[in-house]
Subunit: 353 residues, 2 copies
């Protein structure tokens, strides 16, 4: 493998010293970029884009041509696993992701099996290999998956949900079935992420988008326990380097303390928790990734710079900070604003010496 | 005034001993009740229902005829103040509340004035007087308002919002204008709630639905500071009794600590924070109201009872707990399930002796 020229992200995720604070952005390959929208319209629907390794590679690399980002992240969808389980993922205009065949009964759950990585999800590992080759060691490549709980909500509700009523009712009324569902999902995520690592992913992120909707007790039992199982079973070394694992639960707040017990290397933090408080909650056992409010990228350059500095100083001294937004960049943002952010984070975080 | 026969809620909100844990439910007058849907369809649109004191009184009392709730809460909308400021509130199917004339510029903000309570919002105080008379001392009546920050988001965005981009950009780019807007809203809320208290409201709740979307620093500056100003300026006694004030920020998490400094008597807590942790954050300085996940009311009676007991025991010993959901009851819930909850909370929380 080509030597990695910029390992700042990997070092920061392992709490090793770096020359500056590395930055990447959730959804950095996305609709705010005109060149993305062009490829997206050529591909047809969204899943056709995800399932075409050449196009997935192209959109993954697009933001790196514009900005001095310190990582690439695989362009894909969080719902590839349930789709590969035969639930029929599709995207309906204005409604987001939907499943043709939601999972509603214990019989539905018993029929689920871990997808075959070499066939059903081959398009993902092919994309990883291709992106890794095209990156040519410029920056590391992050692989990812949705968390078991987050995948389960879409499978049970049949799509996006405001209250997760069906899924939550399953947790308390049919908890054995719920555990069976989460278990097959956790096993699938382990195989999926290990396949991504084998294909070239150099860091891993697990997106637990909806974990914050659970009470702390249900969160521990039905979300965090399964993420911990994933952490326990991932390949932790590739090319002679540690593969850092980042967990991200939106609205985690003080649950960051429990999350730091999972054995992961780093936690994503959204803007509703100060990084200073997050360091207290986690006792500085893990690196932290975040946490500018993406809505503030709509402001002008001077405000963006000032707000970026507030994030840097809220983390404070010492290694272990990766700059990011607290959630994905939104389609309405002017790409030049992201350029201002990336450049300023690099400049303002230069270590003396 | 008629003597109050059941003062359990008022006592609990002031952390005084009670014979059992009182319970009321956010949106207890609402679409899950067939008798509500009937009145609602007679009234025409939603605002016509709010603006008709007789009908608002009728739907306020409906849940008390079914369930042994320990409080009534005024039936109204949180957006009555911006509507009375001339912004043209309307409800569009599937989109929720909208304003015909959003507030977009410093000039728009400078033109805003505190509405006249005796004319523009008379329909609200008339409803309060009527409900209070009809209640005849059965249980106390809670009055309410949206928080300044929450009202501001609807006024600036023109309706509901996912990211509050415009409002947040205003906070950081035009903070003087934002403070001016929040200031006139806070003054309006003070007059509005004092008018409700004068008309008969015996406890007050301020709903800061969207405060949890702000970073801790912006939350303090643009939401909590204005709620504190409201607490400082409300009439705190009526009919020889203290009028307790409850603040509720959804997703408050550890911010409950800051909120307890506001001088309020009680805090609403959603299900994402354990009541035990909420007591730690607030140092037992305030009463706590919550916090069953409303989605769990879709489960069967035995699960509802078990989950209610978990909430009671997470609060633990000592006075100062008011049972509630962590957010409003949803239209899909079978009213009988709420009956199970109310009865079980009363039974399971009976104090020995």
């Amino acid at each position: 493998m080509t030597e990695l020229k910029n390992d700042t992200l990997l070092r920061a995720l392992l709490r090793q010293p770096t020359d500056y604070t590395p930055i990447w952005i959730m959804r950095q390959a996305g609709r705010y970029l005109p060149e993305y929208r062009k490829v997206r319209s050529q591909a047809g629907d969204f899943m056709s884009l995800c399932q075409n390794p050449e196009l997935a590679c192209e959109v993954t690399l697009q933001p790196l041509r514009r900005f001095a980002l310190d990582a690439a992240i695989l362009f894909s969808d969080i719902l590839t696993i349930p789709d590969a389980m035969g639930r029929g993922l599709y995207f309906s205009e204005g409604e987001g992701p939907r499943f043709e065949r939601p999972v509603r009964s214990p019989a539905d759950i018993s029929a689920l099996a871990v997808p075959d990585m070499g066939s059903d999800l081959r398009y993902v590992t092919d994309a990883v290999s291709l992106i890794r080759r095209e990156l040519d060691g410029k920056v590391p490549l992050i692989g990812f998956s949705g968390s078991p709980w987050t995948l389960a909500t879409y499978m049970v509700e049949g799509g996006s949900s405001k209250n997760f009523s069906r899924t939550k009712a399953m947790l308390v009324e049919e908890s054995a079935a719920a555990h069976q569902l989460l278990s097959v999902l956790a096993d699938s995520v382990v195989e999926y992420l290990n396949a991504q690592i084998a294909a070239g992913a150099q860091a891993i992120m697990v997106f637990d988008t909806w974990g914050g909707a659970l009470s702390p007790a249900l969160y521990q039992e039905f979300s965090l326990n399964y993420m911990t199982r994933i952490v326990d079973n991932l390949t932790r070394e590739a090319d002679g380097r540690t593969v850092p694992i980042v967990l991200f639960t939106k609205n985690a707040g003080p649950r960051l303390a429990q999350m730091a017990d999972s054995g992961c290397d780093a936690l994503g933090v959204d803007w509703t928790t100060d990084l200073q408080d997050a360091r207290l909650y986690t006792g500085d056992r893990v690196a932290l990734q975040g946490n500018l409010d993406p809505a503030l990228l709509a402001a002008g350059p001077e405000v963006i710079k000032a707000e970026a500095e507030k994030v840097l100083s809220s983390y404070g001294d010492g290694p272990g900070h990766v700059f990011n937004l607290g959630h994905g960049i939104t389609p309405d943002i002017n790409p030049d604003h992201l350029g201002v952010l990336v450049e300023h984070v690099h400049r303002a975080s230069q270590r003396a010496g």
